[in-house]
Amino acid sequence: MNLLLLLILPLISAVAVLVTTTHKQSRTIAAVGSALQLLLCFFLLNQFLDAEKIAGEKVFQFTQHLPWFPSLGIHFDLGVDGISLAMILLTAVVVFAGVLVSFTMEKLHKEFYFLLLLLSLGAYGFFISLDVFAMFFFLEVAVIPKFLLIGIWGSGPKQNSAMKLAIMLMGGSALILVGLLGLYFFSNETGDRTFNLEVLSQFPISYATQLVFFPFLFVGFGVFTALFPFHSWVPDGHSSAPTAASMFLAGISMKLGAYGCLRVATYLMPDAAVYYAPIIILLATIAIFYGAFATLTQTDLKYINAYSSISHCGFVILGIGMLNDIAIRGAIMQMVSHGLMTALFFAAIGMMYQRTHTRLVAQLGGLLKVMPFISAIFIVAGLCSLGLPGFSGFVSEMTIFVGAWSNPNVWYRVATILSCASIVITAVYILRAAGSSVMGPVVNKNYLHLEDATWNEKLAAMVLLAGIVLIGMAPFLLTDLLSPGTEVLLGKITNTL
């Protein structure tokens, strides 16, 4: 299959949205476009599984080599392995659900769907690129629409949040760029310079160079994935964004960073990864614990989910930092799981906000009686977030814990125990939020006549939920998909240990 389809389809639907005249037309085209993306991704998965059977050793499938700036050694190299495929599927699901929950968009609907589809284009491009420069390009493609989405359609101090998000992510990008140039100039010093991931991974980069440039790349990508203390954009950005943008931001955008940390920083500079691992684990543990505690006292549902995302993405970083097969697999599972779960959470919060016009826990209450479906979705997302077995959160967190524990270093064990302890705090804030916003007596009599979810909202929630439950009940499907990829990622690390 030609991976370019993954770029062409969003592009066509984005452009098609622009030429529509009514809201109904634009949302239909956006929904159909994103549904087609989803179908395409499943088709891709099917093809991939077939191709994998006959491919043998080869990990990347459907590879393509298109010249871009040949004189500089920049090419448009495409290819997917199990890891990127999982991310692509995640993107398709979240974008589809995001479009579905935005059907009641009040203003500038054309532009809204256009930007949303453009975002998905950026994400697909990032995940299918095997050229680091192309990855960087698509990463940037995904930043600007976020700024506009928050700034125009957001709520609360939206300009401020949009600015903060854009500047911090740009700052992260600047760091990444420095790191990329380092890779470019100090890898293949005698031969042709290249940005190709696979070629780069063949050349040994000197230990000193790795030590210098690894932090740039890791922190740069880390900004995207809310690495402590570069997470400042997360709470404000998530809270001000409109529902679909929140879903994309937490569901996919944060995963772009984690994917970059893994695929670029850790994969290409394994020695530096080993060297910096204790610091990474320290930062991850702080993020996990501190994010959880900061969530405890939040009163706005979106802030609760934003801070809890910091904590949950801390697990991803922890898994990467542990640098062993089990933990890294767990980290990727957590990326998928958190993407689905947090999107579901934001979708439910958005539906509640749209009806009650408040996100403050104290002003909600008893919604289970009024809107059983939305409330049930909210509770289920919460249960997934606190790692209940049967949902995806459990399997991914447990994989990270088991992987982390297999490192006998005492300090790593302390970090693991602290991370395990955070799931208790998670239970506290989730039950606190669910207990007072959807359970309990009905606080506001005006809520009594509110409507439950519409068909499109139900469909969006069910699609996300299906993913969560499927991974939670049959985790082997996901681990089988990921395993060959993680082995390659770690191939160089086990050599260095």
Binding site: S232, Y290, F293, T297, T479
Partner: protein
């Protein structure tokens, strides 16, 4: 049908009941027939479970070996570690299979009458199905991680059922408390699993036990060599696993959730918080018993003393409570304390283990009978408070008789079920640890006292209950389970239990030490007589005694202020100092740093903006200033 088909049905049907009812809970028809569907499915489940369980015992008369019926790799981690979904059938899980499905069926039938007027009845039965499924998964687990999974699932079913009346704030608070306290305990369990799995290089029970339960295996040597803070890794693992068990089984100091859990519908309390889920901790320790016996003495000693202390502590509190369900809740805690310390004392030839599981078995019947009886009383008087009751014996004859028999059983009066198991526990304690035996004796005296305090206050106290309720004692579906369970409470004690369920798979002939039993039975009778003296007729003796005891009584009645202590720690310390601080740091320090960075950039750009003002005079000034500077520099340099 093969055994694995049986298993599929036994575990699958309750789950089917859950799925079916929850997915169709919106329709009116489902709400109407939910109870019947769920009960029917449960009856079929019980039938197959009983068949499987009896088959097992019939085919393993001489030696109870464990059978791995199903084993399926669910989540593979690598390096030998994997979560397998399997079914391990041995004597203890067969016994539990019988208990769980039987009590669940009784509770389903009782709920048909008790809950029929509730809206959302489909959700209720769906959650009962989810609970039964999870509990069956728990007891049949072949893998320690699998047991953890179902452990969490019973926790969430318990949460959903306690919070069934979700519009009541107190029910929501109780549900949250139960979930969070047990979650906290499960943290210990999880880390314990990680430790045992890491050194045992497997999560499967059979492998784990064969490696860590064998002093000659390399894994055993490794785990006993490793340690932290002066305690062996093996002891750490076992103690941490026990903490998980203590949380579910409401052992001190993790017991605070159980009394509050009584906010749930009463049949739920009978099923979850009396007979099945709360004994999961005992079952967990029993599962790992072979490892406990080869480890250092510390873990078992901790279990013994925590069990004994909880038994006495809860019995004391039970004497002062006025809410009928709370008395029963503390009594449950106290009885589980018996099971725990009995496991801990080991006894001769595993007598403690056998006695503990025997008590678990008999307790399930008479305690669920007590709760269902309480449900039927609450149904009649519409109150949980003992002071609203009294003189009910004529209005509710069946409930009266069954409650009396259950009280006699729990007090250990022969020939009722509790007598046999409690004697076995006391005897095991007597031969191994006199101090624990002493605590046990006092507790059984208190047990008889508070149970008959309850009995006399409800059914006697005043000559006749003043109001008459037109629905009478309840429907046949409420009466039937009471009758069946009464029968069970009389009979199950006569089963030669240790012949079937025992610590090492080799049948032990149970025998009763008649001479030994005289003392404890007399003490229990004394407790009953004391309760009769104070509570059979309404009088002021109890109040006067309570006043004369002063602060001691107030402390006990307020449950030693443990709840307040927890509340203080969570609200005043965790929330205020940790939560608020983290939020403050984030808002002011970290976000503040970026904000000041932005401000600094702003100031800086403002500053340099002044240079490029567009004002030609300024540019001319800079230009000539520059020239002047350069020329003077030139002169300065040339002068050398």
């Amino acid at each position: 049908m093969t055994n694995s088909t049986f298993i599929l049905l036994i575990v699958g049907l309750p789950f089917l009941s859950f799925l079916l009812l929850i997915l169709s809970s919106g329709s009116k028809l489902t709400q109407k027939v939910a109870g019947q569907i769920a009960t029917l499915l449960m009856a079929v489940t019980f039938f197959f479970a009983a068949k499987l369980s009896l088959n097992y015992f019939a085919s393993h008369l001489t030696q109870q070996t464990a059978e791995l019926l199903v084993n399926y790799t669910w989540l593979e981690f690598g390096s030998g570690l994997a979560i397998n979904m399997g079914v391990l059938l041995d004597s203890s899980s067969s016994m539990m299979l019988l208990v769980v499905t039987f009590i669940s069926l009784m509770v389903h039938i009782f709920s048909l009458g008790y809950m029929h007027h509730e809206e959302r009845i489909a959700n209720y039965f769906a959650f009962l199905g989810l609970f039964t499924f999870s509990m069956l998964g728990l007891i049949l687990s072949s893998n320690i991680f699998q047991i953890y999974i179902f452990w969490e699932l019973v926790g969430v079913s318990s949460f959903l059922l306690i919070g069934f009346y979700y519009h009541k704030s107190s029910a929501v608070a109780a549900a949250k408390k139960a979930f969070i306290v047990t979650r906290f305990a499960d943290l210990g369990f999880l880390i314990g699993i990680l430790i045992l799995g890491y050194y045992g290089e497997s999560f499967d029970f059979t492998t784990l036990i064969s490696r860590l339960g064998d002093v000659n295996s390399p894994q055993y040597k490794q785990i006993t060599m490793a340690g932290f803070a002066g305690i062996q890794a093996l002891s750490w693992g076992l103690i941490l696993v026990f903490i998980g068990g203590a949380g579910k089984s409401a052992m001190f100091p993790l017991h605070i959730w159980l009394p509050d859990a009584m906010e749930g519908p009463t049949p739920v309390s009978a099923l979850i918080h009396a007979a099945t889920m709360v004994v999961a901790g005992v079952f967990l320790v029993a599962r790992l018993f072979p490892i406990f016996t080869v480890a250092t003495a510390a873990p078992l000693q901790i279990i013994t003393y925590i069990g004994a202390f909880s038994a006495l502590f809860a019995a004391l509190i039970a004497c002062t409570q006025t809410d009928i369900k709370r008395v029963l809740a503390y009594s449950t805690m106290s009885q589980i304390g018996f099971m725990m310390f009995s496991l801990g004392v080991i006894g001769d030839n595993g007598a403690g283990y056998n006695a503990s599981l025997f008590h678990l078995f008999t307790h399930a019947f008479f305690k669920s009978l007590l709760f269902l009886g309480a449900g039927s009383i609450i149904h009649y008087v519409h109150s949980n408070e003992m002071e609203d009751m009294g003189g009910l014996r004529k209005k509710m004859p069946l409930t009266h008789i069954s409650f009396l028999i259950a009280c006699l059983a729990i007090s250990g009066i022969p020939p009722f079920a509790g007598f046999f198991s409690k004697e076995a526990i006391l005897h095991a304690a007597y031969t191994s640890n006199k101090m624990v035996f002493f605590v046990g004796i006092i507790t059984s005296f208190l047990t008889a006292f508070y149970m008959f305090r309850l009995y006399f206050t409800i059914f006697w106290s005043i000559p006749e209950y003043p109001k008459t309720n037109e629905h009478g004692e309840g429907t046949w579906s409420m009466k039937l389970p009471l009758m069946v369970l009464t029968l069970a409470s009389i009979l199950v004690g006569f089963i030669p239990f240790s012949k079937y369920v025992n610590s090492n798979g080799i049948p032990v002939e149970g025998h009763l030490e008649i001479v030994f039993s005289i003392g404890p039975v007399l003490l229990s009778i004394a407790g009953i007589l004391l309760a009769a003296y104070w509570f059979k007729t309404a009088n002021t003796k109890p109040q006067r005694l309570a006043i004369s005891m002063g602060n001691a009584f107030v402390w006990v009645r307020n449950k030693f202020y443990i709840d307040q202590l927890y509340l203080y720690i969570t609200k005043e310390i965790v929330f205020k100092y940790f939560g608020k601080t983290a939020a403050y740091i984030d808002k002011n320090l970290i976000d503040g740093f970026y904000l000041s960075l932005a401000h600094f950039t702003g100031y800086f750009s403002f500053f340099i903006r002044g240079i490029q003002s567009g004002n030609v005079q300024h540019y001319a000034l800079y230009f000539f200033g520059g020239i002047l500077g350069l020329v003077s520099l030139l002169f300065y340099l040339l002068s050398y």
